[in-house]
Symmetry: C2
Subunit: 208 residues, 2 copies
């Protein structure tokens, strides 16, 4: 690995740490230069523009999540076990990757959702892909009859997305020690409400 690549990787790592705590708006060229003890123009030369720096940080975060969440989860048996493992690995993945603050994509989603541009496009595409992974794992579980076949996989996937945000807010904003328990319990609630025998027990139109 050439020296350029070495420095580049170090800049990305420290950039991710900044983003994790201060968000993408806080990831400035000068700030990163100071933290990495590199000249401002040195950082600039590595990325070409502040916008490009942020975009590359976004891509780095996506790769990190892939290694930390997706790849290990695919080792679990297909179906419900894989879905559960995916969700468990999702919770707190940023901390487990060594980041000092919150999830970069939670910041990115909030900061870019109303700002047109390459960053927004990338966040949308990444989230689309990630939700798509959940959907396919859910549908596998349906084929295996671990989940109700009539269930809308997309809905469940997005409900799990919501639970992830619940966990993030409880953990980082509220510092509630019950964050893990509430999220994991929420997962089980959703899965059981979507169990294969659910519709046998309470048909639509049932009265209590």
């Amino acid at each position: 690995m050439t020296k350029h690549d070495h420095t580049h990787a170090r800049l990305l790592q420290q950039g991710l740490e900044i983003i994790s705590v201060n968000g993408f708006a806080g990831a400035t060229i000068g700030g990163l230069a100071e933290r990495a003890m590199v000249s401002k123009s040195g950082v600039f030369a590595h990325f070409g523009s502040a916008e490009a720096l942020r975009l590359e940080l976004l891509k780095t975060a996506a790769e990190l999540a892939q290694r930390e969440i997706v790849e290990p989860a695919l080792l679990a048996p297909a179906g419900l076990p894989r879905l559960r493992r995916l969700f468990e690995l999702w919770l707190g993945w940023a901390s487990r990757s060594g980041l000092p603050g919150g999830c970069p994509f939670v910041s990115a989603a909030a900061e870019f959702d109303d700002v047109e541009g390459a960053s927004r496009d990338f966040v949308v595409a990444t989230l689309y892909e990630f939700i798509g992974l959940f959907i396919s794992v859910i549908e596998e579980a349906q084929k295996l009859q671990e989940l109700d076949a009539k269930l809308e996989s997309k809905s469940l996937a997005w409900q799990l997305f919501g639970l992830y945000n619940t966990h993030h807010a409880m953990q980082r904003l509220m510092r509630d020690p019950q964050a893990d328990r509430v999220a994991l319990q929420g997962f089980e609630t959703l899965v059981q409400a979507s169990g294969p025998d659910w519709s046998d027990r309470r048909e639509p139109g049932d009265s209590p």
Copy 2:
């Protein structure tokens, strides 16, 4: 209403619009001045500091949410109807209040969750209060036997928080027209999974 108050209110309104689109980091004194067609020092005189401006914008957003969500929801009958109304009014409240972008508190939670200070404290306190309202409405519904008494009200409240984030991401980031449907359907799923007769149908430890 004196002229000072009139201008002050106008600045807050326009400040909220900026935040809704660009987040709190984007709510700068100079930017607000330009949008409101007021001198920079004029804006400064109204708030005393940029930090104070952001804090006051946060408080204004909280009051707006109170009027837009909480107060109308309390007109609904106690128990499950009130809970449902609360959730329905929560979804998309920012747009309904005339804001051009997303929910200010979604931005605030992401931007301040790892930054100590008065803004963080206020977000924490406001969210704590809001979740607390959900908890008390849920417990009302439990007393009325509309929800299972053994249910943990706090968990359900936070699951609804998650659904709100689901809706926000689907609506604003992904621009998915099914956001409303998925969120409302998710609400019903959670409520039915917590129905008063749920525990009669599937005891903990049941095997499928």
